[in-house]
């Protein structure tokens, strides 16, 4: 009798252990599947996004999208090339270099905060910081560096910060944008940026995609809208309208104002996620910032 009970207990124990093992395998499997899924979904998004422009502008080489509207409109390109003979952003680069090399009050400098002393790293931004759980753009990293060294943060849209960013971008010319989505938290930030990009907003009820995908290359009033592919590669940019160099988030705010949507804070989480999404979509394009735009 005792032997029978013992055998039954052992059998139950084995069954329980088996069930536990199966559940562990199932959980691990679902984790891997989920991880595979979000990576596959990002890859699919990139392929679809880039294929959209290939179909829309079959004559345009992929590498040309780094040049914004000048990749798709010959007349604008001609004017732009003439302007590039005397690049209007050169002063910003010089000023940015001086600022970059000037030590902080504690004797340290920007070079101490960045990989490779801050040279040739623009293509690695924005990235998702898994420890902080947020997207870090180059401009945010510059201000984080300042604050870590006891300096006051700079204004995000123009001036010293835009010039520093311009200098750092200039040291990265030709490097290829390869922004990754490393984990599920990053995928959430990426998805938030994607949702913003495709959501209609403002009194005019336009989304980013309406102007920069649906009617890219067509005229909105006097301007030809640029393709969304490659948007982040040339920033910061000198705009004739601004008469100075400005950051990508300044441009986001301007776009939002144009469609009568109240702009959101520069370097706030929403615009950083949008920049993250746009940068992932532009994977494979070269950094050519700073650049000039209308």
């Amino acid at each position: 009798m005792g032997l029978v009970k013992l055998t039954l207990k052992i059998r139950s124990g084995v069954r329980l252990a088996g069930l536990l093992m199966l559940s562990c395998i199932a959980i691990a499997d679902s984790g891997n599947k989920s991880a595979l899924d979000f990576r596959a979904m990002v890859e699919q998004d990139i392929n679809d996004f880039q294929a959209f422009f290939k179909k829309r502008f079959p004559q345009v080489e992929f590498s040309e999208y780094k040049n914004g509207v000048y990749a798709i409109d010959a007349a604008s390109r001609e004017q732009w090339l003439e302007m590039e003979d005397f690049p209007p952003y050169e002063f910003a680069i010089d000023d940015g270099e001086n600022l970059f090399e000037k030590p902080f009050a504690n004797g340290k400098s920007y070079a101490d905060c960045f990989d490779n002393n801050g040279e040739g790293i623009r293509q690695n931004y924005p990235y998702f910081d898994s420890k902080k759980g947020e997207v870090i753009t180059l401009e945010l990293a510059i201000n984080n560096c300042r604050e870590a060294n006891g300096e006051k943060p700079l204004a995000y849209k123009r001036g010293a910060l835009a010039n520093l960013s311009a200098y750092m971008a200039s040291t990265s010319t030709g490097n290829v944008l390869a922004i990754q989505v490393p984990d599920e938290a990053a995928y959430q930030a990426y998805s938030d940026g994607k949702k913003f990009f495709y959501s209609k907003r403002g009194q005019l009820n336009f989304s980013c995609a309406d102007c920069h995908m649906r009617v890219a290359g067509q005229k909105l009033r006097a301007d030809i809208t640029s393709p969304a592919l490659g948007h982040p590669t040339g920033f910061p940019v000198y705009r004739a309208k601004w008469e100075e160099v400005g950051t990508l988030h300044r441009r986001y705010a301007g776009c939002n104002t144009n469609i009568r949507a109240k702009p959101l804070p520069a370097q706030g989480r929403v615009y950083r996620n949008l920049e993250y999404f746009q940068s992932v979509m532009s994977r494979g394009l070269e950094i050519n910032g700073p650049s000039s735009r209308k």
Partner: protein, 101 residues
């Protein structure tokens, strides 16, 4: 005859007075609703650039005693604020419909 005339004048004045009092309360109520809605839209990141100006202009017109203009502006502000909320709610559930792929 005179009594009848006095009665109608009094009645008319009462109507005018009550209409004026009603309009002020009505405008303030509409403006309150517009303010609440615009704050909600702002919290969702969907505020329009034009709505707060309409509210401000309605307040100015009301302070200047131009109730007709104020009422019109307050209604326009509320209409915009509510539309921006509808836009936010639509985007929340239908943003994928905006993907032109």
């Amino acid at each position: 005859m005179n009594k009848l005339r006095v009665f109608f004048i009094a009645l008319n004045m009462a109507f005018l007075l009550s209409n004026s009092l009603y309009a002020t309360a009505d405008i303030n109520s509409i403006l309150d609703d517009a303010r609440i809605s615009v704050e909600k839209a702002a919290a969702k990141g969907f505020e329009w650039t034009t709505t707060r100006k309409l509210i401000k202009d309605a307040e100015k017109a009301l302070a200047a005693g131009d109730k007709d203009k104020s009422l019109q502006l307050a209604k326009a502000a509320l209409n915009e604020a509510e539309k921006s909320l509808v836009q936010a709610s639509y985007a929340e559930t239908h943003w994928r419909a905006g993907i032109p792929l």
